[in-house]
């Protein structure tokens, strides 16, 4: 099979180019295993900021809007307010974890199902949020469909304050701590979709959402 040949030819050429005839010494092998075990973090910029304040600031810089409410029960009213201000229809789809909220009391029609191509508003939780860059982190699973944060024109993400970490490296450490293997999809979202492909002019809403709205709890 040519595929097997290609594999051995490519790896053979790589090894031939290496010193020591391409063999891995015991010390090198130990260093490789240590890297996978310890996950060393490279030098980072100075971060003289407070986690939550930085997250809010960076969300703004990436063109996400931010609202802050005391607890999960306040989310429907916050969403209703946000939609009314922008004259968006009070109809949305949400992740299962948010299905039990009293949406109807806030005048909203919210279905718990993955978004389809014609849904206009998707409401999700997040796995973690990253302060350094104003980033939302999603892990795919049957209960956290990726389509809901991707297809609608407006994406609303509910973020518990204690799920905001400082850096992407911190997010990896937390993911491993919580004993999660990489799921099918890890998605980082930092603000609405954008492009500058025509004359270098920035346009919001290329393929993904036009609007990303973050509701911080607690």
């Amino acid at each position: 099979m040519s595929g097997a040949n290609a594999r051995s030819n490519i790896l053979g050429r790589i090894r031939a180019a290496r010193q020591a005839g391409g063999s891995v010494s015991a010390a090198e092998s130990a260093a490789v295993e240590e890297r996978f075990r310890e996950h060393p973090v490279a030098v980072q910029p100075a971060m003289p900021w407070e986690t939550r304040a930085r997250f809010v600031q960076e969300c703004g810089r990436m063109s996400s809007s931010v609202d802050e409410v005391a607890d999960i029960a306040g989310v429907p009213a916050a969403l209703a307010r946000y939609l009314a201000e922008r004259q968006l229809a009070p109809r949305a789809v949400c992740w299962p974890e948010l299905a039990a909220l009293d949406w109807a009391a806030a005048g909203l029609d919210v279905e718990s199902r993955p978004a389809r191509g014609d849904d206009l508003i998707g409401v999700t939780g997040v796995y973690l949020a990253i302060a350094e860059t104003g980033t939302l982190m999603f892990l795919s699973s049957p209960d956290t469909p990726a389509a809901t944060s991707l297809l609608p024109e407006t994406h609303v993400a509910v973020v518990r304050a204690d799920r905001i970490v400082r850096t992407m490296e911190d997010a990896w450490a937390r993911m491993r701590e919580e004993a999660r293997d990489a799921p099918r999809a890890i998605n980082f979202v930092s603000g609405p979709s954008r492009t500058a492909d025509i004359e270098g002019q920035l346009q919001i809403g290329a393929h993904g959402p036009f609007r990303v709205h973050v509701v911080i709890l607690g």
Binding site: I14, R18, A147, A182, R184, Q203, G205, H207
Partner: protein
Amino acid sequence: MTFQSTESGATAARPAQARPAPLFKQRAHDSLTDAKVQRAMRNFNLAGARARAVAEVDNFEELRTAAAAIRDRSLAMLDVWLERFEREATRRGTHVHWAETHEDINRIVVEIARRNAVRKVIKSKSMVSEESHLNQALEAAGLQVVETDLGEYIIQLSGETPSHIIAPAIHKTRDDVADLFHEHHGTPRKTEISELTMEARKFLREHFLSADMGISGSNFLIAETGSTFIVTNEGNGRMTTTMPRVHVAITGIEKVLPTLEDAAAMMRVLARSATGQTISNYISINTGPKRPGDTDGPEENHVIIVDAGRSRLLGTDMQEALRCIRCGACMNHCPVYQNIGGHAYGWVYPGPIGSVLTPNYIGLEKAVDLPNAATLCNQCGVVCPVKIPLPDLMRKLREKQVARGLRPWQERFGLKVWAWAAARPGVYAWLTRLGARLGRRMGGGEAAIHHLPGNGWTEGRDMPAPQGRTFRELYAARKGRT
């Protein structure tokens, strides 16, 4: 140099082997005299955005040094990381393929498409697939191919190739795009950039929802988890890896990183260097196919690891070029690229990195002009996020050209004559004296020569005319006085 647009249907694919870079000087001249290209290039100021983003962190130099070290660590044991990637990816259900050549890439993708009865393919940007002319091969196999990065979509409609690695249609104006959309979409002609973007969104959304297969590149491969790592601002990378039932990622052997932490460090320099962002809007890290119960994601996930000339650079004085993370900063800061645009470079990668990669990937003899298409001002070397010494590499390629006798005979003959004279001080002094007198006469009493015969150099500027005596004459006179 064109690939077929989706509208023109299947045609016989051109052989996928690397085509020779066409005459660089002619192409550069065409760009310089094309008012539209010149106007479009002025729209472009990613250099300013980068400078602002870099100034926001206290230690960008340290971040660059760390990023270069991470890339060097990858390249030093590429086989070890690739085998780990393969093992971890396979364990999680990804099919890993190895492609030695561009033909291998196209054959593997066509086979996957056939096996899955694929009819429509959507693509997010993959520069490796530009190397192999994958779109032509897929169309020859009867498949519809739609590029989804807005810039790539525009040039697909116009039948062109990318002129920049992250802004592929930077040479087009809004009027060009308006004409293309009007013609290909059959919609009323729009003039505002926002309207054009919305129209592309609408048409491409249909394609996203109806495609059977998504093809993407991969900015990095993550060895520890067997994942692809795809960075976009538009979200087309997410769409391509989420919606169709088959996903194929194509990337070079050099793109593997050991850990997710390494990727985090690379993102800090990649986004700042490319667009002046602190992070790109979307990062999609995909690991295997849809899991039990998942409502989205592909049923089949494939990764094609491509050599196509890369392993030849390992262990040579060109290895540093493999650190490249395709941010585009070198071209954004290159005075030559800024004036002639990407198409003049004749192959997939333009700008300083193209001047190094193209001769290495397709052959020094097929790209004789490229290592010389630079002033060696080192703007590229200073901004490169992984510290590739681009001017040094171009200089080494020039040396190789001389060693292999690839320079034009006039240049070789001229240098021989010069070497002969320079080794004979009396002859050299006589020739310089003759040259100075002749130059003064050509100046016709003025301080400048307006026209040098047989040479385009004076078309846009004057040549200073030699004045008075030569250095040697003055030196001899002064020595006589003391």
